[in-house]
Point group: C2
Chain length 390, copies 2
């Protein structure tokens, strides 16, 4: 059987809307063609959800074409034609011979440059994601296309920031998976159970999903249990949970590459006074932050509401209290931090991330993913804002 | 309870051996200090296995110090002190304020540069991983350290290429997990079962591991089932397996960040003649390749043995037939491909990766991870080289 087009998650009109926003910014900046290599931006513009690791691939967006072009290694081209909304002729496989080529002067980027030259862009204005490209790549572009003019273009990250209702619906599905996984954690974390077996159960739930809507991928997952609660980024260990221990959990359901993260603290046995006090302070801060969310407010306003309330309760948090989310978790744009003057607009989505690694022997986590509504805020999770006592 | 040092997987002598090899290359290239940002290289030099995503962090290796220094965001410093073999004073947390700083002129790299300047490296020879750093970062180094001389240094990737016996032992443990997961796939892939539930079961095995040795992380995982067998990099879908379908599986157990990959093709029902023929050809090629592995042979010799045999059986494979493996899967160095003249040495490890996405409607996968021995080859997997018929 030949490979048909995959069932499309978003209608063609959704991708054309996204592309129209990108092209409007290109016109404003006098850019003729964009070279997009950020995988989240590729997903955003085309619906591609395959994961090709470090392989070189690019989506080219030209003002003269309605649909973008995808150029990737030959073995990934069928996946592109399967998953992407574009016509199959717009997915181009470059020769596998370019991958790990022993000739240091010829690599995958040459295929992309050849395509641009063939398409007549040798003397045009070209947008590149300068902040994520390495120097040797940028130098190759300039050397092989000496008459082209290259400009940094990172606006897609910002365009992604305001979700359509279709995207919000998908993020709600991802949130339901996050909730189910956190509830599963509450069931399986017990004294004398290994962190490993709990992680396996929780991750199983992240894959199986809920309501007939499974996870489409695995996002980053962190289970930091005593004595490792002062740090956020340990996956899990070979220890067992102990009575009186604590587990800080960060996880996220994934639907069609959209990620809706969630953090909760689990206390194995009665929480300590210290844990209760920081929890009360953080929840008060969380609620103050959510109350500050509305169109027209800034990220800084939301952060200030959080930090001020936390301080009133006698605590500090050093790190930012959140960031924009969407495809592949974090968007590299707006942060919930003092001084970030990004103005909130309806359907912006954030992870209000109140993980607080306070001392070398203590940390606490809670979070809410939310969207900005027309008048205020909608949180994605339905879970209580509690220490989960097991 | 305060956070003690984690149980160390490798003795101090192992890290000093690795560092000695790196320092010898630094001396040869007149480099005073190295700035290492590749996460696999950081793991290699220190034992750090936490995963901090896109956050900026670096290991600094100086000729004047026995131990390296780790600089990371403050919240990750406790994890560094916990996991790394180095003295706690050698893990430095930079202020969280530098993360997503609204001031475009001040970021995490400034903390790394400040540390180098404080340590007196302002006019010295500095090794950087030029091929993975972005242009703005390299420009910042040159602007803020105008009297330093920067040189590309990518030798750690190559030093990693030859494993110690301790590393080989860990890779064998990872291989046992890969085998167990593939056997679990053989049990759970059945007609009318969803790809999702099979993926959940297989990934559960990758976490739970075998023989009391669990997986320490999840590596990339791909389950491409009919009609998607012509492409390698789709995670899984919401389809069910069907009688007469095929599933191409690529997975890997992980122990202490070391990855030992494995691929097998699963036929749901009797394999087609086409599938059998390509399988016979690929296994013949696989065995010819393994027979060519020995110290002194080149990667190209091994690849030529494979491609020649495959062609004799009437098939072609466009992509390279393998690559060096170790921490975090692929090492960006030697490839099993024609023209790669890397000379094999004992305890080099490779994934002989014979995935072959032949037509838009057909593909096949099989692989063996192996090490070069003193006289030939040792494969890590104990599974038969068969189409797994279920």
């Amino acid at each position: 059987m030949t490979m048909p087009k995959a069932a499309q998650v978003f209608p063609r009109s959704e991708f054309l809307r996204r592309l129209a926003a990108v092209k409007a910014e290109m016109e404003q900046k006098d850019i003729d063609v964009l070279i997009i290599t950020n995988i989240a931006n590729i997903t955003y513009l085309t619906g591609y959800t395959a994961k090709t690791g470090k392989d070189v691939q690019a989506v080219l967006v030209s003002l003269k074409d309605e649909e973008p072009t995808f150029i990737t290694r030959r073995q990934d081209a069928p996946g592109g034609r399967h998953l992407m909304f574009v016509d199959s002729s717009r997915v181009i496989g470059y020769p596998e011979d370019l991958v790990a080529n022993p000739d240091p002067h010829k690599d995958e980027w040459d295929a992309i440059i050849d395509l641009l030259l063939d398409d007549g862009f040798g003397r045009r204005e070209i947008g590149i994601e300068l902040k994520i490209l390495t120097c040797p790549v940028v130098e190759k572009f300039k050397r092989r296309m000496p008459e082209a003019r290259f400009k940094n273009f990172d606006r897609i990250n910002w365009i992604r920031g305001i979700k359509s209702d279709l995207e919000i619906a998908v993020m709600r599905e991802a949130a339901a998976i996050s909730d189910a996984a956190m509830l599963r954690a509450q069931e399986v974390i017990r004294p004398d159970v290994t962190e490993v077996s709990a992680a396996a159960e929780i991750i199983s739930t992240l894959i199986n999903g809920v309501d007939g809507k499974p996870g489409g991928d695995l996002a980053s997952f962190f289970l930091c249990a005593s004595p490792r609660i002062s740090t956020p980024h340990i996956r899990w260990t070979e220890d067992v949970f102990r009575q009186g221990s604590q587990a800080n959990l960060e996880l996220a359901g994934v639907r069609h590459s959209y990620v809706t993260p969630l953090m909760r603290t689990i206390s194995i046995g009665t929480p300590s006074d210290r844990l209760r006090r920081v929890h009360e302070a953080e929840v008060a801060g969380l609620e103050a932050a959510l109350a500050a969310v509305k169109p027209g407010a800034t990220c800084s306003d939301v952060a200030t509401a959080f930090y001020t309330t936390l301080q009133k309760h006698g605590f500090e948090k050093e790190s930012r209290c959140g960031y924009a989310i969407g495809i592949d978790w974090t968007e590299p744009t707006a942060s919930l931090r003092t001084g970030d003057l990004t103005v909130l607009k309806p359907n912006m989505t954030f992870h209000l991330m109140l993980g607080n690694w306070i001392d070398d022997d203590f940390g606490y986590v809670i979070s809410e993913s939310f969207r900005v509504t027309e008048t205020g805020v909608e949180t994605f999770s339905t879970l209580p804002r509690e220490i989960f006592e097991v």
